[in-house]
Subunit: 201 residues, 2 copies
DNA sequence: CTTATTTCTTAATCTAGGTTAAGTGCTCCA
DNA sequence: TGGAGCACTTAACCTAGATTAAGAAATAAG
């Protein structure tokens, strides 16, 4: 049995993720996996394009992705990063099945588990417990998002950066600086200036 | 049967709300209602205090509420409004059962349906379909929140205000101006100036 | 190894929106 | 019915962060 899990490589990371909130039987776990597909993707790959209807969500086994939108065809705004153990997708488009305005891009070579909307719906019927799992996932995501909104309304750029560092210590090493700038909502130039100022203290 | 619904007044608004996403049997509807409590609350009532653990969520039958947080004990930031047909609560505190940082205040005399966390959890067990209902509710809320975050990162105050007007035409009449200012993320003074400028065009 | 492209830095200048302050209406309840 | 407090306005001045531009440093590509 031990070797069984081994043959799946780090595929079981997603099962671990699920088991944090609901417990599936081994059969249900296999059913779940049978509805997903694990894929290796190279850095700079665009998994989702703005203007298109989003058909799938991604769970990250390894590597790093981001989602962002482009304003007036010029300025990029990073909406989220996703590294090992995180989910990422264009929720708006995935749920409404209307064209979205997010891009999803691979920042570092990654392995992702692909779950199509179609299969997700099927899984809700076959394993109702997953309804609970994704509810909890969405709830946590909502709470994090609300906090970020509050921070953008009430904190300075410097404070937002400090919070980002505390909250995602592993990301700071990996993510290019200008993308952190975009995530916390300032220009790369100002971010650079701010960083220099912070070092002096 | 007609008179039956009448005796509940607009209590059935919440059942309508649920039926948009999942269909309950009449028995399930009664069970649901038995786990809630309808309450009339006067303007200026504080239903939830920052620093306290949130024990319940509210569905608005009539009237108007808002949630907000206070920064450095000075500046208020309106996080959300809720009028007829909307849900409101401090999601972070309700989910984590840790002290929250939101206030929930009644802006206009209101009738709300109270659903405690305890009863909500019981309902998940007794009517698993509600798992789906609240998943969908949370999903929609997340999408709206993500859009608002994106708007705050990429639009000007004027554009945000225009979007607010289009999105919540009924609210503009009801909500005091300074609270709209806070919601879109500017000071009341600047909002006033901006509005005057917009009228000139 | 060399060049090209992208990322990061620095600095001068500019602006959306904040702050402070003073004045004009409300409205509400004593 | 009058005055105490809110809600809103206007205006002068201020600042965090944007924009523009140009050079340095790091990666990538050939």
């Amino acid at each position: 049995m031990y070797s069984f899990y081994c043959t799946f490589g780090n595929m079981n990371l997603i099962l671990q993720n699920i088991s944090k909130h609901v417990s599936l039987t081994p059969e249900e776990e296999l059913l779940f996996l049978s509805k997903t597909e694990t894929k290796k993707v190279k850095a700079k790959t665009i998994l989702q394009n703005a203007g298109h209807v989003c058909k799938e969500g991604y769970f990250v086994n390894s590597g790093l992705l981001r989602s962002f939108n482009i304003n007036d065809n010029i300025v990029e705004h990073v909406m989220s990063f996703a590294c090992e153990g995180w989910w990422i997708s264009d929720m708006y488009s995935l749920l409404s099945q209307k064209p979205g305005n997010l891009f999803i891009e691979v920042l570092e070579d990654a392995e992702v588990v692909v779950l199509t909307k179609e299969n997700q719906e099927k899984l809700y019927l076959e394993i109702p417990k997953l309804e609970r799992f994704f509810r909890i996932l969405t709830e946590n995501s909502l709470v994090a998002n609300q906090e970020r909104l509050m921070d953008n309304l009430s904190l300075t750029a410097e404070e937002r950066f400090e919070k980002f560092c505390k909250k995602y210590p592993t990301l700071i090493q990996k993510v290019p600086q200008k993308q952190i700038a975009s995530y916390i909502g300032v220009t790369p130039e100002f971010f650079s200036k701010m960083k220099a100022r912070m070092l002096k203290k």
